[in-house]
Amino acid sequence: MKIKAEFEAKLRADPLAPVGVIVTTDGSPGEFAPRAEAAGLQLHRQYRLRHMLALRGPANAVLALLEEPWVLFVEEDQPVTTMDG
């Protein structure tokens, strides 16, 4: 499974909606960043500690990534907030 069903449904519901995702790659993320950009996604962040890329772009371009063999997992770039009352 490359994506949680709930998130995939959200992407399919509005294919043109701009989304932020974090993609786990099968190998060094630097190698795959150009491929993600060629697929119509914008590189937001690239990580060293984990093989991950943060990408932004339309939902349908993210869905297309699921077909790529170098893509291991796609998840939403979730909002975070401070934890004060």
Binding site: I22, L49, T81, D84
Partner: protein, 415 residues
């Protein structure tokens, strides 16, 4: 009129207030009036009584500023005070953890690198003077200026010097070096991807411990991007302290990064060791116990970023706030103290000693973790045992002190 019965602070407040403004007061009546009689007394129109005390003839009430003098004119009223907010100052929470005993041993976090990954910091606040080593903005703002106040507050709990308060509100590790990643915008929000970038930056800067007083909604299984990156950072030798979250008291309310397996996940208590109702509870969605430990996090007064109004401002330099956000930097500061004293501890050993030395509050593990931290106990438990004096040679037996001699003596015979 009864103005002469006002406490000076109440007089000042009433003078500055509009007549319709509601003010909380405590009214002291003359001796001999029972609590029942006090309860029966009318409250000025528009006001309301909140509490009648049993041990003194007094009650708390909310009344309009313009009505207080008339009410105080009553012969039975002796005194009227303003009801003041009560805070858990850093100078309460820090001693509760017995941190000053660690300071007495010469450990103040000196030179330990702590990273605050948050809304930024007020770099002009005197409590951080000379100790901010590096900063980086990941929000696009262009600087780490803290337009929210949260990051500044958090940083001062972990490492504030207390200079602006004359040494009264000192953070846990007041001589630690501070690294600041601004990953949350001035509205307090941000994205996981930027938090992850801030953590990587902190690791690359050589941070020994990272504070994450932030999170996404729970529950979580620890396999999300942020949590797994946190675990990777811990595997590189960095202690990460993460807030459990403020979605309690319901179960399974800890979210990322608090659900990460290797971080120290921190819940919140009040100054009486009661668990804060808002403190998120475990287990994680894959059944692991969280939080790992609890620290004070209710009404913590610490540094206020200039021009911000986060929490309840106490004065220009300090403000009071609650949350697992406030409990977490107590942990980060404690980690800095431990790493100064024992620099070779691994993150797992740091987490273990904090949990092992905690005070059991008698609550569910998914509420309190191992219990409320006892920082001095953690520190002291790692101290090498002082060697005693070298033992001398075994004394030889006294002549005539052998077994047979003792038997003969017991029988009343001469050896």
């Amino acid at each position: 009129m009864g103005v002469h019965k006002f406490s000076p602070m109440l007089a000042e407040t009433v003078q500055a207030a509009a007549a319709e403004e509601e003010i909380r007061v405590i009214v002291k009546y003359r001796s001999g009036i029972t609590s029942e009689a006090i309860s029966a007394r009318a409250v000025p129109a528009g006001g309301r009584a909140t509490y009648v005390y049993e041990r003194i003839p007094a009650r708390a009430m909310t009344v309009r500023a313009g009505d207080i003098a008339t009410y105080a004119h009553d012969d039975d009223v002796e005194r009227v005070w303003r009801d003041l907010p009560v805070h858990t100052w850093l100078n309460v929470s820090v001693p509760l953890l017995e941190v000053p005993r660690v300071w007495s041993d010469g450990r103040r976090g000196t030179g330990v690198k702590i990273a605050i990954v948050d809304t930024g910091i007020d770099t002009t606040h005197p409590d951080f003077e000379g100790r901010i080593q590096a900063t980086r903005d990941f929000t696009g703002k262009g600087s780490v200026a803290d337009g929210h106040g949260h990051g500044t507050h958090v940083a001062s709990i972990a490492a504030g010097s207390g200079v602006a308060s004359g040494g009264k509100y000192v953070g846990v590790a007041p001589e630690a070096l501070i690294y600041v990643a601004k990953v949350l915008a001035d509205d307090g929000g941000g994205l996981m991807s930027d938090v992850m970038a801030g953590i990587e930056w902190a690791v690359d800067e050589g941070a020994q411990t990272i504070n994450l007083s932030l999170g996404a909604p729970g529950p979580g299984d620890g396999d999300d991007a942020l949590s797994t990156l946190c675990d990777a950072a811990v595997n590189e030798g960095v202690v990460i302290c993460a807030a459990a979250g403020n979605a309690g008291p319901g179960t399974s309310t800890v979210g990322p990064p608090g659900v990460a397996r290797l971080v120290v996940t921190v819940g919140a208590t009040d100054k009486s060791d009661g668990i804060a109702s808002f403190s998120s509870r475990g287990p994680t969605s894959d059944g692991r116990t969280k939080p790992d430990i609890v620290f004070p996090g209710v009404g913590i007064v610490a540094a206020r970023a200039a021009g911000t109004r986060m929490g309840t401002p106490v004065n220009d330099r300090y403000t009071s706030a609650s949350g697992t956000s406030m409990a977490t930097p107590h942990t980060t500061g404690a980690v800095a103290l431990l790493l100064e004293a024992y620099p070779h501890l691994t993150p797992a050993e740091v987490k273990d000693v904090l949990m092992r030395s905690a005070k059991d509050l008698g609550l569910n593990d998914n509420t309190q973790g191992a219990g409320r931290a006892q920082v001095y106990n953690a520190y002291a438990s790692l101290k090498p045992v002082e060697p005693g004096p070298e033992p001398g040679p075994e004394p030889g037996p006294e002549p005539g002190d052998g077994c047979l001699t003792q038997i003969l003596r017991a029988l009343g015979l001469k050896a």
